[in-house]
């Protein structure tokens, strides 16, 4: 009898409309500005413009992108450059970010708020300003870089970095590192602050201090944050475009040495100078960028994040 009344009361539980109502605005906005354009792009990549009409072409555009020697050369060149761009960020930006965060969280450091702000400020600057400022700094004619090197007697080391095929991409990567090093620093700084003092004190009681304390206690505790930063860097780098465009232009010179997927997409989609934009091939490249980022993120989520050990305090 009591069982029956319980089931009865469950049946009569009102439908919880409010959940749908509260979800709807965000869901609608997200669908309108993210999901629809994404599918629009994927759809566009399956069509081709024949006599000013869009004709379904299946995977022909992808076949062109990978089969045609010129398209594929441009694509692999852009992907290679993009990978190098990412490697520099992973090897330079993130370790420096971790070190800066470790220094900032040291209780003995004075003016840490000032350093924190100063290092974070470039992140707030527009790409256009950063690109322009660094172009001027590195300019062989009016830049301060040649003069500064001259002051320390190393003028011979100066090279017009942005104009040389072998250095331009690395130079731009380092500029980007300079701009964005504040982000890993802030995230890791926050992670370090959240490490309870008891853990640190316990470590000190056990005689683990200084560098080995960082290595054995703090680093394992901030590893999940480093993982998140890596994936943010990955997504950010493979979507990058602005800095290269503002510093090197859409042709990403010299000789396409700084061409990354973003600039390659821009040139193809919107056209450049006499080259007329090709929406469909552009969408094909955009889809490839989406798949590359998707694959990278999945790899991280399923292979790395599940294996990261988490500590509960």
């Amino acid at each position: 009898m009591s069982q029956q009344s319980l089931e009865h009361s469950q049946d009569r539980r009102p439908t919880r409309w409010h959940i749908a109502v509260f979800l709807a605005p965000a869901l609608l906005v997200y669908t309108a500005v993210m999901i629809l354009p994404l599918f629009g792009t994927l759809q566009l990549s399956l069509f081709r413009n024949v006599d000013n009409a869009q004709v379904f072409a299946g995977f022909d555009n992808f076949r062109t992108l990978f089969g045609d020697p010129r398209w594929s050369a441009s694509f692999w060149n852009a992907l290679g450059n993009n990978t190098w761009f990412f490697i520099i960020h992973m090897l330079v930006q993130n370790p420096i970010g971790v070190v800066l965060a470790a220094l900032l969280s040291s209780p003995k450091l004075r003016f840490s708020a000032f350093y924190r702000t100063a290092i974070f400020i470039p992140t707030l600057l527009s790409f256009v300003i950063v690109g322009f400022a660094w172009k001027l700094i590195l300019s062989p004619l009016w830049g301060v870089a040649p003069n500064l090197l001259d002051l320390v007697g190393l003028k011979s080391l100066f090279v017009p970095w942005l104009g040389k095929e072998e250095y331009a991409l690395t130079a731009l990567s380092l500029i980007s590192v300079w701009q964005f090093v504040g982000i890993p620093m802030m995230l890791i700084y926050a992670a370090m602050l959240s490490i309870p003092d008891e853990v640190i004190e316990a470590a000190e009681c056990d005689g683990v201090t200084g560098f080995s304390q960082f290595w054995k206690i703090q680093l394992p505790l901030i590893l999940p944050s480093i993982g998140i930063i890596s994936i943010l860097t990955f997504v950010g780098n493979f979507n990058a475009f602005d800095l290269i465009y503002s510093a090197q232009g859409a042709l990403a010179g010299p000789n396409y040495a700084t061409d990354i997927l973003g600039t390659f997409l821009y040139r193809t989609f919107f056209g450049f100078q006499l080259q007329i934009g090709d929406k469909n091939m552009g969408a094909t490249i955009a889809s490839m960028m989406f798949f590359i980022i998707l694959a990278g993120v999945c790899l991280y989520l399923f292979l790395i994040q599940t294996r990261l050990r988490r500590y509960q305090f």
């Binding site: 017009p160 970095w161 232009g249 010299p254």
Partner: protein, 419 residues
């Protein structure tokens, strides 16, 4: 009583208000352009002259950055938010717009008879039957030099290539000036001011250009590789770090008086006149041997067309007819020395440097840039590739032969000349 007064006032104001709207119903035309340098000239000279002659039509000049213009314009046209009048790039970019229905047919526009067929050729269909932009101006390539520097070093204006390189050697040996102000960072300088500037003397202007389109000549032929070989010889005469020198850097180097020779397009004249504190002269690209016929690049550069979706098409046509008139040609050519009118009516120009440039039309054979007509229709785009390759050749990272071979290979991959 006061209530009635208020009502009366309100009524009156509403009627007067609407009367104000009726008065303000001037037609406003918006011009899309990439010439943001010309904003002042349009606002101060051209537009007032037009508005004075045509009351009731207001014109707004709304330029965007040159490198972004084509992409921005295409996006605006597709979205239907583009202006009434569209400044036309020469050849295929505009032809494509016409084919897509983004430019109206202006063949029968009043005033089109003021232009020669050559002038109209840049904005016509391949068969020449329909014209879609009113030709505005052409630009001529050559070299602008610092007269003071040449006098101080006792250099005569070079007429042949040997004299040209001898002059460069002399400037370099003296050391006061950078012999030539050009950089390869922005790529297009190398192609436009370099290859397309000196090239016509090698491929004999129109003769070579048309043969290339017909397929009778190849980019790997000696006449097309030789200009690259000459460009490669420019490297030692460019400033330190020219690989990272941008176009504005080059302009500043020259106008500050630090460089002696500037490979130029005539469009520089206006800015150089206001910035340079020294006397300037100009010479056409030196010929290879004394007595050779000289060829110059006299390139149709700017036209103006009508957006068929314009709500004020009639007003816009009135404006275009005015652009086709000798009156416009005269104001334009004098306000912008270096942009030479394509109008058949002779225009008197005041600027000595502009006169020098235009005088070459008498003694040299004009041609247009080799990559613009037909040959930049496909992918890879020949014009853009020429930028990259010209910069490579000057940087010394690619040999002239290898660069030409690559260009021809790219062209062959999509272009089949009509036999």
């Amino acid at each position: 009583m006061s209530n009635r007064l208020l009502t009366g006032l309100l009524m009156a104001s509403s009627i007067l208000g609407s009367a104000g709207i009726a008065l303000a119903q001037d037609k406003t035309l918006t011009i899309e352009s990439w010439r943001n340098d010309d904003l002042a000239i349009w606002q101060e000279k051209l537009i007032p002259a037009f508005e004075k002659a045509n009351p009731g039509i207001k014109v707004t000049f709304s330029p965007s950055a040159p490198t972004e213009y084509n992409a921005a314009l295409n996006a605006k046209l597709d979205a239907g938010s583009a202006g009434d009048l569209i400044t036309c790039r020469p050849f295929d970019a505009s032809l494509e717009l016409f084919k897509k229905g983004h430019l109206a047919d202006l063949t029968s526009l009043k005033g089109m008879e003021n232009f020669s067929d050559v002038a109209k050729s840049a904005w016509q269909t391949d068969d020449g039957k329909a014209s879609f932009c009113v030709p505005m101006a052409s630009v001529i390539h050559g070299f602008i030099y610092n007269k003071d520097a040449f006098e101080k070093l006792g250099i005569a204006v070079p007429a042949t290539e040997d004299e040209f390189f001898a002059a460069l050697d002399k400037i370099k040996a003296d050391g006061t000036y950078i012999p030539m102000a050009m950089g390869t960072k922005d790529l297009w300088e190398a192609a436009t001011m370099g290859y397309q500037n000196i090239g016509p003397n090698y491929w004999k202007g129109e003769e070579g250009r048309l043969a290339l389109i017909k397929g009778d000549q190849k980019l790997t032929d000696a006449d097309w590789v030789a200009p690259y070989a000459t460009l490669a010889k420019w490297k030692p005469y460019l400033g330190d770090g020219f690989e990272a020198q941008t176009y504005p850097d080059s302009q500043n180097l020259f106008t500050l008086g630090r460089a002696a020779i500037y490979p130029a397009g005539s469009w520089e004249i206006a800015t150089f006149n206001t910035q340079a504190q020294f006397k300037m002269g100009a010479f056409p690209p030196p010929v290879r041997k004394a007595g050779d016929t000289c060829y110059i690049s006299d390139h149709n550069d700017i036209g103006i067309g009508l957006n068929p979706k314009s709500a004020n098409a009639e007003a816009a046509k009135t404006f275009l007819t005015w652009v086709a008139s000798p009156e416009f040609a005269s104001i334009y050519a004098n306000a912008l020395p270096g942009f030479f009118s394509l109008n058949s009516a002779a225009v008197k120009m005041e600027d000595p440097l502009a006169q020098e440039f235009v005088s070459w039309r008498e003694k040299c054979k004009p041609t247009i840039r080799s990559t613009y007509q037909v040959l930049s229709r496909g992918t890879p785009n020949l014009e853009n590739e020429t930028w990259v390759k010209s910069a490579n050749v000057i940087n010394g990272t690619e040999t002239p032969e290898a660069a030409s071979a690559e260009l021809q290979k790219g062209l062959d991959s999509w272009y089949k000349p009509a036999k």
